[in-house]
């Protein structure tokens, strides 16, 4: 059995705003989901560390980092209608980004295990120069940039119910990162159509697989299965997962209808993209129903660890069963159009 390499303890309790769904109890629920695995000595906890400035500026504008830090130290406040920061949020966000770095470094050193990073605040909406969607720093992007700087090729699988616009934007023109997202559409943040395929240097390195409201697990699984040939031809050396659990049917912020059993299936699929052991890490993104978050954490990690679990049954029969293949068709058509317009230009 593989070991679980976990970083979940960096004092994120102080990042809290009364009544906001992105709350400290989420991390507690995710940790409880890990505890439910009863891993004993097979649980390896790596210590917290802060991401260094040179690690953050790979994906964030230096001026943004300065302003965010100053804003937090000045007491914080609301950054947009969704996103808050407290006086402690800067140091917590830097620890969250560092937690991802610590986990991938530990996996690389061990050459074995599955990583799980209980990141709060979450990260996949954070742009290079802007906080949004509850996110301050883009934790998974910081880790991916760290890996590609070391010569790796990274596929980011984002199954959060919201499109990870920040991650997509940061790696829009980066050929060493393949970004694959299943998400509800339409929904915040409004991006994530199949026609968004990457920048001129990275055409085809962004793959969006939007699902309609009410879609069940079969639609999400089918979409990710449809993406598999593209991932395989990319030949990733690492798999990082933006593991939001807000596509669960109990989640209050969205309308997909997945269960913990569906997340187990998605995790298995994502794990199958890895070239070998010690090359998969899950980063917590959304998920605002605490029981669903706990159960989905357990189910996803169980699937990756090859452990038995008592998940809710996988779901099927909702709308959007063909959404993934249809998105893939649009993805290829867009690439053809871009290629022919490029030929016309030359």
């Amino acid at each position: 059995m593989s070991r679980l390499v976990l970083n979940a303890d960096y004092g994120a309790q102080a990042h809290e705003e009364a009544g906001h769904p992105e709350r400290p109890a989420r991390a507690t629920a995710a940790r409880a989901g890990v505890a439910d695995l009863h891993l004993g000595d097979d649980l390896v906890v790596v210590g917290p560390r802060a991401a260094r400035r040179e690690e953050l500026v790979r994906v964030h504008a230096a001026g943004y980092l300065d302003e965010l830090g100053a804003f937090c130290y000045g007491g914080g406040g609301d950054l947009d209608p969704d996103t808050y920061a407290t006086a402690d949020s800067w140091s917590i966000a830097v620890q969250a980004a560092g937690a991802g770095l610590a986990v991938v470094d530990a996996l690389a050193q061990r050459g074995d295990g599955v990583g799980f990073v209980v990141t709060r605040p979450p990260g996949h909406h954070a742009l290079a120069d802007r906080a949004m969607g509850f996110c301050l720093l883009n934790n998974i992007a910081v880790a991916a940039a760290h890996l590609i700087d070391a010569g790796e090729r990274v596929v980011i699988v984002d199954w959060d119910v919201h499109h990870g616009n920040g991650t997509q934007s940061i790696f829009w023109d980066e050929p060493r990162v393949l970004y694959v997202s299943t998400h509800q559409w339409p929904l915040y943040p409004g991006s994530g159509t199949p026609a968004e395929v990457g920048g001129p240097r990275a055409l085809g390195r962004t793959l969006n697989l939007p699902l309609p409201p009410g879609a069940t697990g079969d639609a999400a699984r089918r979409a990710l299965e449809a993406a598999a040939p593209i991932v395989e031809s990319f030949e990733p050396t690492w798999v990082l997962v933006s593991a939001g659990f807000d596509a669960h049917r109990a989640d209050p912020l969205a309308d997909l209808a997945l269960t913990s059993g569906d997340f187990a299936a998605l995790a298995s699929l994502a794990g199958s993209f890895a070239p070998g052991p010690g090359r998969v890490a899950l980063f917590l993104e959304g998920g605002y129903d605490l029981e669903a978050l706990r159960a989905s954490t357990t189910a996803s990690l169980s699937a990756l660890l090859g452990e038995p679990s008592t998940d809710e049954a996988p779901t099927s029969g909702g709308p959007g069963a063909e959404a993934g293949p249809a998105a893939l068709e649009q993805f290829w058509r867009t690439l053809e159009v871009l290629a022919s317009s490029e030929e016309d230009a030359t």
Binding site: D78, D80, P81, F134, L187, P189, G190, L253
Partner: protein, 134 residues
């Protein structure tokens, strides 16, 4: 000739001031106005699809043709929604946004839709100050 003007609107006093400026600009230019509401993560997904009363009243007050003023709810943060409005169907050629007197230090992009918009937009941006800025 300007054909399409987009204004961000969240119902706040600063947004209402921006709305008045956008509508006046559109009237003078003979342009269509798109009043855009950015629906955030925390907002009810059933946000009203009909035009808010304050928008209709301002349209009437300024003597505009209601057929040339469109209300539209878009998922996203206010800055991104306005930036995306340069694409179809809105195809905005001017973006109008209110600026709140929130007391942030000068030059701080954080939390300021207007400053972020000016930083990133590829079309002219009109920033309508709040009384605290005047």
């Amino acid at each position: 000739m300007t054909r399409s003007i987009a204004v961000g609107f969240d119902g706040s006093p600063s947004a209402t001031r921006a709305l008045r400026v956008a509508l006046a600009l559109a009237r003078d230019a003979g342009a269509t106005t798109w009043v855009l509401h950015a629906r955030g993560m925390l907002e009810e997904r059933a946000t009203e699809s009909s035009t808010p009363a304050v928008v209709s009243e301002t349209v009437t007050e300024l003597g505009l043709d209601p057929e040339r003023v469109h209300w539209r709810v878009e998922d996203g943060d206010p800055c991104s929604v306005l930036l995306r409005s340069v694409a179809p169907p809105v195809e905005a050629e001017i973006l109008v946004v209110g600026r709140r007197g929130h007391g942030h230090p000068e030059g701080l992009l954080l939390g300021s839709t207007s400053l972020q918009l000016v930083e990133h937009a590829h079309v002219p941006v009109v920033v309508v100050p709040s009384p605290l800025d005047e």
